[in-house]
Symmetry: C2
Subunit: 476 residues, 2 copies
């Protein structure tokens, strides 16, 4: 097996490097496929999604303000750009912003949150613009676990989880506390499992934080309001800091489900909760309908942060000076899109609906097709951008993988990649219950390509099952 494919599967290579390397290899060595189909990273534009015109118009206007005189740009885009530039030192994207972000953009974020949450008050003093959501997540974790003595702070994370969390926890030398999502129940968060994990962890560390990803990555579930309330009640009782990763808040596909923000639910639980539970929630330009990963835009909102901790946070953030200002501008458009009476509204609305409509369709196609394959079982993709199906791996394949020193789903994904050119991520990278195997695939390829992918995957899986079922007992 080639080094490039291997390294990639082990997460050592990223998007561009991988494509280049595989292309190089395809020229040199022979692979039994002509095209690599990447369904491993939530990288919408790389998979062919087009940018939202209005967002890019605003960023271009901010970048080159001479365009404000151009008749080919709509007035609402110009108005957004002028406002952002007025918030920048020297009216330039090239100035450092405050490390919390440009004031007027933070104000727009607060207004957006109030509207999203049907009037729950949002104070822009609690809004921090970030370099993507990851930056905010790592900063908050850093602050909390250093504040409490590194070796003793425990952080509760879902399993499966987006590996940013486990990586950050390990780097900060905090204790990772796993709570397992309920695969048999559409990956729902089970409050009893939270209690179990908490009680077990209390023996050897000081649980301080609980992280939730809603809608889920890699699991695609959308949390119910009741479940969020349970989690918040639990956090209140146990005095846990709640980190709610809500970067997929616009990505809900099941018509009977709805995104509820942790903050809104907390508010509705009454002032005893709303004024005490420490909460940080995260959003980003990278997902949703815009898919602007490269701009590294994002924000976080914090609630009930201790004043001293807040001062520490500002200090911590000031070391990286400021988040990229063009990413801040992109974030502004997402929280402050064209209104119905504005000239760009129709086109914006059309583009947004097209992206979200296509994703909803692909979510369904993916789930349905995967469930026709013997030995694959896929929960509904209710939200986010991923399916995380369970795959049956025959015992002989499991043994072979073990003898090769790799996890069985890793071997599965590597073989899939080598034989079909389809690039997925093994479930073991996200965590899974002992003895179960999964992969994560994005629903981002175009519908056409996605169908090809699913067909190839089905054929591969059936062949894989056959191969390992028909093998004789290895000679001893």
């Amino acid at each position: 097996m080639s080094q490039v494919l291997r390294e990639h599967a082990f997460g050592m290579l990223t998007a561009g490097m991988f494509t280049r390397a595989v292309a190089r290899e395809c020229n040199g060595q022979k692979h039994p496929f002509t095209e690599v189909i990447k369904a491993n990273i939530g990288d919408s534009h790389a998979m062919g999604q087009k940018p939202i015109t209005f967002l890019r118009q605003v960023v271009a206007l901010c970048s080159f303000p001479e365009l404000l005189n151009s008749p080919s740009f709509p007035e609402d885009a110009k108005q957004r750009a002028r406002r952002i530039l007025q918030g920048c030192g020297g009216q330039s994207l090239g100035s450092y912003s405050a490390s919390q972000g440009v004031d007027c953009i933070r104000q727009d974020v607060a207004v957006y949150i109030e509207q999203r949450d049907k009037g729950v008050p949002a104070d822009w003093d609690n809004i921090y613009l970030t370099t993507g959501a990851s930056d905010g997540i790592v900063s908050i974790l850093k602050m909390l676990v250093s504040g409490q003595g590194r070796s003793r702070s425990g952080v509760m994370i879902p399993i499966p989880q987006y590996p940013l969390y486990s990586a950050a926890i390990s780097e900060l030398e905090a204790v990772q506390i796993n709570y397992y999502l309920d695969e048999d129940n559409c990956w729902a968060l089970d409050i009893n499992e939270l209690h179990r994990a908490y009680q077990a962890a209390k023996e050897h560390c000081h649980p301080r934080v609980i992280c939730i990803i809603n809608p889920g990555n890699p699991t695609g579930q959308v949390q119910s309001r009741k479940c969020i309330e349970d989690v918040l009640h639990f956090a209140y009782e146990e005095n846990l800091f709640v980190m709610s990763d809500e970067v997929y808040q616009d990505n809900v596909y099941s018509p009977d489900l709805q995104f509820h923000s942790f903050k809104k639910v907390l508010y509705e639980m009454g002032p005893e909760y709303f004024n005490t539970v420490e909460l940080a929630s995260f959003h980003s330009t990278s997902k949703g309908y815009s898919g602007e990963c490269g701009f590294r835009g994002g924000y976080m909102e914090v609630l009930n942060l201790d004043l001293e901790v807040k001062a520490q946070l500002v200090k911590l953030l000031s070391v990286r000076l400021c988040p990229p200002v063009s990413g801040q501008a992109a974030m502004d458009v997402i929280v402050n899109p064209p209104l119905p009476h504005e000239p760009s509204y129709l086109q914006f609305h059309k583009e947004k609906s097209a992206v979200l409509g296509a994703l909803a369709e692909k979510a369904q196609v993916t789930e349905q097709t995967l469930n026709t394959v013997p030995g694959i079982k896929c929960n509904p993709v209710q939200g986010a951008m991923y399916a995380f199906p369970r795959i049956f791996i025959p015992p002989r394949a499991v043994e072979e993988a073990k003898s090769l020193g790799m996890s069985p789903d890793m071997m599965y994904c590597l073989r899939l990649l080598e034989e079909t050119g389809i690039c997925l991520v093994p479930g073991s990278g996200f965590g899974q219950r002992e003895g179960t195997y999964h992969f994560r695939m994005t629903i981002l390829p175009t519908t056409e390509k996605l169908k090809v992918l699913l067909e190839k995957l089905r054929d591969f899986h059936i062949k894989f099952l056959k191969e390992y079922a028909s093998l004789e007992e290895p000679k001893r």
Copy 2:
């Protein structure tokens, strides 16, 4: 004294926050000034410097590729933009790049370095694009000190230094090893002082890294070729990793001085050095003539990195996914500016020369004016963007500051800010020899404003000296 001013002086507030807060205060409370003049941060555009047209054209074209059809953009800007977009997934700035950065931009950086260093070979595999230079500096430090056991790794840094270094070292729980620059010799790096610091530190830690800032921040000196050779020889002998912060490489004002890159000097010392000394050098979009801080663009070049360490670095960088792609595009323009035969050359050259010419003039005005003030002594501002003059603070003022629990130069700067609206940074934030006092001021205000600043500063200083000289002995 107001909380805002205090907090700012203590480094708790950053650019935008400060301006807003002071404006608010100016409305409410009464200050004996009508305008705050900020000379505390190297934030060119905020101080009125205009963006380089060509750079912004390329970024705008990349952001909104429809503009590639517009006749109002020059062909060379379009060609740059097309090339960058071809290097992006889905030809969009909105895709994640590889965590090392967009390939073709890294190639352009390598070509730039080869030209800058008169043919010394540069391999683009050694180039990493970063989120400003800070990101690269922190990443390299993180990798090195964790690789060697945190509590034992020592990092040699100049004093005075840009406080990013001390902050990162402290956060990583490494040992800070101070080597003092020679103020009496234009802040030159003294090789004997390096030996002294190293020998003393060896007693209690394992010195692993030496950091150099050239041209100097906050000290503005430009290092001689001979001195660089001495440092590299020292690093070779003592097996130290060299981190050379060269973000001011375009900011050299003394006509008889020249920037020498550490890499070029290392090359000229012969293969025994060039193939063994571990080196990382850093550059950025934020300084030079472009002053594009907000884009958070930068790169680093590494040499002789252990392969395993390199793999670790890639892993570390992949956690932050990728540097902002529009910052990468800005970096590309800086390393790949218009050539003499291209349509944008004349305007680009004119704008670049105007910025650098004005800075050179202001460097001279600052030094000369400060040296006319009794009790202030300023070395020539040979490069970078700062003066770091030594100020005489009368013993009675020193005592008063101590009784207030603050450093004397902090008290000085706070009073300056309160009485004149001039915002500087106390030398104690950068480190200085015991019993000496300094401040750092940028040379970034417009020439006109800079002259006002220097005049007000002179008046303040004279008044300050008088006040503390004429005080009676405090009653006991």
